[in-house]
């Protein structure tokens, strides 16, 4: 009995620490003007004024749209490019395969700051500075190694007999990918795509450096740059409202796809 009670207490503590800060942010975002600076956790007069102010003070709707467009586009391009590459890396034996995979893994370990100045020059020479296309291009460096690695891991687990039958029937690689593997790969594509989406959605350093105007900012930069009348009076209610707006969909997404994300994470890391 005491042991069960102990376990229950530990579990309750874990849940409280994990979820508490987000709940506190939600409560703060509902506080009216002066309520922020008075004691008491629950807002005296719950109001959505902070949410309205977030959209009124800056092009926050536009920022959300930017984030969706960039992250969605990057995921689509990454999956497309990595699907064929992963097929070759997982199913075709050729010299230097291990080296190539190792190189791809190394790229995913790069500190972003290492490519910052080179990427800046690349984006500027293409005329893409302060544009979503330039930002998306830079994100490929973050997502592509990761999607290649994950899809290769997934493809390796499929039995060899699958494509042997197709090869005997005279099918080419693209037919094999499209007709044999794609139907089996949907779960892998969804979890890989989701994780890549999270990476692009959360990215901050490139977004801060390669965009200039409020209209091209993505959500993390917009939130980081919300400021008040002076450095010491940040509008915490509005910052928390903006945080809740971008976090709740992410949390729901992760919770809904929990099982797939966990299997994706463990496939990428444990078996690597």
């Amino acid at each position: 009995m005491i042991r069960r009670l102990g376990l229950a207490l530990v579990v309750a503590l874990i849940v409280a620490v994990a979820v508490g800060p987000l709940l506190y942010a939600i409560l703060t975002s509902l506080e009216g003007g002066g309520g922020l600076f008075t004691a008491g956790l629950w807002p005296d007069e719950p109001t959505l004024a902070n949410y309205a102010a977030v959209f009124a003070d800056q092009p926050f709707g536009r920022n959300i749209l930017n984030s969706i467009v960039v992250a969605g586009g990057v995921v689509a391009v990454s999956l497309l490019l990595s699907l064929t590459a992963a097929y070759a890396l997982a199913r075709v034996a050729f010299r230097g395969r291990g080296l190539l995979l190792g190189t791809v893994l190394c790229v995913s370990m790069f500190p972003q700051v290492a490519v910052l100045s080179g990427m800046f020059l690349l984006i500027r020479s293409l005329g893409l500075y302060n544009s979503l296309a330039g930002l998306g291009l830079s994100y490929l460096m973050l997502t592509l190694p990761f999607t290649v690695w994950m899809l290769t891991t997934f493809l390796r687990q499929l039995p060899k007999e699958l494509e042997e039958a197709a090869i005997l029937d005279g099918a080419g690689p693209l037919t094999i990918i499209g007709r044999v593997f794609l139907p089996l790969l949907w779960p892998a594509l969804v979890s890989t795509g989701l994780l890549a989406f999270v990476v692009a959605w959360n990215e901050f350093l490139f977004a801060l450096t390669f965009t200039l105007t409020a209209e091209t900012r993505t959500v993390p930069v917009a939130i980081a740059l919300i400021s008040g009348a002076s450095q010491h009076e940040l509008p915490w209610g509005r910052i928390m409202a903006a945080s809740v707006i971008v976090t709740v969909p992410m949390v729901l997404l992760v919770l809904v796809f929990q099982r797939w994300i966990v299997s994706g994470l463990t496939a990428g890391a444990v078996k690597g």
Binding site: A18, A114, L121, L122, F204, A224
Partner: protein, 295 residues
């Protein structure tokens, strides 16, 4: 088949990295697009003008950033590993509502780093933050603490937020490893009446070690390049400035592409060195104690 992926990676990873390394040997500004740059050799790294040392390697702030990064990475990864294993052990047990608890544990991981930095900055606010309020109420502190301003406390704050955010990742990886362990060993240990703590150190830990080392390497490399958390929580404060923050400040705030690129190149070297060290340490211990895996 591989060519499109390889070409894109060359263009967005290898080429910018090469440009960064090359820029590190020039006096380029950021606005000139690299065209105005002149070769200056190792001057961005170290040079002596009129008896005064210059360059990144002569800058005490750079060395402080290296120290901050190493302290941050080692303390937070250690804490995450211990807490992650503990949380995984709890979640590995059977209790009602376990699926919901697992989902709840994922929440910090799902929150964007910038957002968690902002939420914690508010909770740690010196005047109105809930953490100071609770500590004051409990009588643990007499006056409010300046969490994000005080040099020592701001490092504590940054590490706390990082541990909070990334322990779920560690816990999930450890949990996945735990679930692959055969149950009969535990039956045997239970029949023999071996204390659970002893079972953990003699059986569980050696068996999950390979997965744990992979997770630690991933996390350590991640922690060594940390940028957004530190930048949002404490800005360019020298007390918490990490290598990435230093390099970006040189590059963007000071508009010095040469020095910034030199610093960025050094970041890569330090991280590569750290990765090799961790992997060697992991391997050496395995060779050194071959019987450790035997229950």
């Amino acid at each position: 088949m591989i060519a499109p992926m390889a070409i894109v990676l060359l263009a967005v990873a290898a080429w910018p990295l090469a440009r960064t390394v090359a820029l590190g040997f020039t006096d380029a500004g950021l606005t000139g697009g690299g065209a105005d740059a002149a070769f200056v050799g190792w001057e961005n790294y170290y040079a002596v003008f009129g008896g005064q040392p210059f360059g990144v390697l002569a800058d005490p702030q750079w060395w402080r950033a290296v120290g901050n990064t190493l302290v941050f990475a080692s303390v937070s990864v250690s804490l995450e590993t211990v807490l992650g294993v503990l949380v995984a052990l709890v979640l590995h047990r059977r209790f009602p509502g376990r699926a919901w608890v697992r989902a709840a544990v994922l929440v910090p991981w799902a929150i964007p780093t910038v957002v968690s930095a902002k939420i914690w900055a508010w909770m740690l606010n010196d005047q109105f933050g809930i953490i100071n309020a609770v500590l004051l109420d409990l009588g643990l502190i007499a006056t409010p603490l300046a969490w994000t301003a005080d040099p020592l406390l701001s490092m504590v704050a940054v590490i706390t937020v990082d541990v909070w955010k990334t322990t779920p990742f560690m816990a999930l990886l450890v949990l996945a490893a735990l679930e692959m362990l055969p149950r009969d060993i535990y039956e045997a240990a239970r029949v023999d009446g071996i204390h659970p703590v002893r079972v953990f150190f003699r059986v569980t830990l050696p068996l999950i070690r390979p997965a744990l080392i992979v997770a630690i390497v991933f996390r350590a490399l991640d922690a060594l390049r940390v940028f957004d958390l530190v930048y949002v929580l404490t800005a360019n404060s020298p007390a918490t400035m990490t290598m990435s923050v230093y390099a970006r400040r040189e590059l963007i705030d000071f508009q010095s592409a040469g020095t910034g690129s030199a610093a960025a190149t050094l970041v890569v070297l330090v991280i590569a060195l750290a990765a090799v060290t961790i992997l060697m340490a992991g391997r050496l211990r395995r060779v050194g104690r071959p019987l450790e895996g035997a229950p």
